[in-house]
Amino acid sequence: MIRLEQVSKQFGPVTAVDRVDMVVPAGAVCVLLGPSGCGKTTTMRMINRLIEPTSGRILVDGRDTATVDQVSLRRSIGYVIQQIGLFPNMTVEDNICVVPDLLGWPRAKARKRAAELLELVNLDPGIFLKRYPKELSGGQAQRVGVVRALAADPPVLLMDEPFGAIDPINREVIQDEFMKLQAELRKTVVFVSHDIDEAVKMATRIAIFRDGRLIQYDTPDRLLAHPIDAFVAEFVGSDRTLKRLRLIRVAEAMMADPPRVTAEETVETAVGRMQDHGHVAIVMVGPRGRARGVVRLDAVREARGLVGEHQEPLPGVVNVKDDLRAAVSQMFTHGVTWLACVDDEGFYRGYITQTGITRMLGATAGEG
């Protein structure tokens, strides 16, 4: 856990950080967000005392950082920077082992750890351990940069726009990898960014800074639903409701346990079931429950025979693990107002409608 108490920083006449109070719970990813010069980087750098606070206290896991030796404090906190900062004179292995070596780990233990960490980010240790940074692509280098910070297993990680210099496609991939890693490792992360989309994606808490002051500190959803003032509203963007779509999974917004028919049932059964539920269409499933097609009420009201003879292909399905943005995108692509939701195996799990999504956004917004 990281606690900042009335932390300020003066650079000459300029107040870079102005009486910031915040608590980052253990295992949370806290994204410090704001325009350049807002004090977010300074705030982060005060946590490992790369910058000394002018006043106020910072506690990491209950210890006042001012009472801890700077060097040992920094060795206990992982540090990742935008420029990656891999040392070009060292191999990937030696780069990863920098902090373990500084801490005096046995050499064999540190090297073994380096190999494990590389595997964690899908880089083959056999290939990459002995490479030099100049022999890595940007994405590979940043992965090494991240695992280097994890080498000595610090409970706290400071990341200064770590994915800022990577091209958009690779950035998404690395963000996803990092999230997966974080779900496993549960580090307390302080992450500086100026990209609201990145913040919404990564953060459990977002802190918005302006002119050295902490303006709003909230969960991404509440921040997007209830910006505290015009500045925050403008900063998160006029499309903030659309951004919230990213935060909600299809599984949360769908109607579960939906009515269904099989190919062998008669059309009358299907029509009856639709009327029971007040639906205009019903999904046809295979013998084991996979979504196969759809039967529409208008098309079969007068028809006879089996469902299998009248079914139409499904106009797109959405995975229950996807976010609502993907669902809405599918709806627009296919010009429909509802979608069948399936799991990874293709089993029919529920359906999601435009009205349902609207209601969902309203409901979570209302909680605030």
Partner: protein, 242 residues
């Protein structure tokens, strides 16, 4: 590598040129007149090397640490001034420097070593400063953030990343040094300059060349030697040669 290819070509041209020259000199009878000074050449070359080695070693011993000192944060204020003074020093003609040294330290080896030391110091110091200043600030930031002490940052990050440029400075400086040692003869410090200047005075090309050719060869050999050190000693990750 293009530069390497050109280097190889130049080296080949040089060797071929030397060979052609040798053949031509032999035909003209100059070569035998050079070889007649063999004994002197060996004695004076040793003297020459001692002068170069002493002044060069002193210059390295002073230039590199001074360069490191000037790039430390707490000396940042005076670094500019010192670099300016050093730059000014490079504009003083070598002969004038030797003359000045003689007027203070008398004649013989000490003033020569001193003048050569000053001459050699400048490129070494400047390259050390330039090399250390060229280390990307994010590397130092990352090193600090990971908990390296200032000494560890210098030894593990800054010096390894600057060593190529520092060695390039030493390489240039020593080559200039060896080429300048002949002037030391003018203030009685010996060296291969003795053959060169005496050869000029006596209008005896054989003697002149007996001093000039070994001087050139020594300069090339030292340049080659430090080039090899650069190639093998600088870590592969920061070595543009491999």
């Amino acid at each position: 590598m293009r530069a390497g290819g050109l280097g190889g070509l130049a080296r080949f041209a040089f060797v071929a040129g030397v060979f052609a020259l040798g053949a031509w000199l032999q035909a003209r009878g100059t070569l035998p007149s050079i070889l007649q000074h063999r004994g002197d050449v060996i004695y004076l070359a040793r003297q020459h090397l001692v002068l170069a080695a002493m002044s060069g070693a002193m210059a390295i011993a002073v230039g590199v640490p001074l360069g490191i000192l000037l790039t430390r944060e707490r000396y940042a204020a005076i670094a500019g001034i010192v670099t300016q003074i050093v730059n000014l020093g490079t504009t003083i003609p070598t002969l004038a420097l030797i003359a000045l040294a003689m007027s203070v330290l008398g004649i013989g080896a000490p003033p020569a070593v001193f003048a050569l030391f000053v001459l050699t110091l400048l490129p070494i110091l400047l390259n050390t400063v330039a090399g250390l200043n060229a280390v990307p600030p994010p590397l130092v930031d990352a090193a600090r953030g990971m908990g390296m002490t200032p000494g560890q940052i210098l030894r593990r990050v800054e010096l390894p990343n600057a060593v190529f440029v520092i060695l390039a400075g030493i390489r240039t400086a020593l080559a200039i040094n060896i080429g300048t040692v002949p002037l030391a003869f003018l203030i009685g410090a010996g060296g291969l300059g003795e053959l060169i200047f005496t050869g000029i005075d006596l209008m005896e090309p054989g003697m002149l060349l007996a001093g000039a050719i070994p001087t050139a060869l020594l300069a090339v050999a030292v340049d080659f030697l430090i080039g090899q050190i650069q190639f093998w000693f600088v870590p592969r990750g920061v070595n543009p040669l491999r």
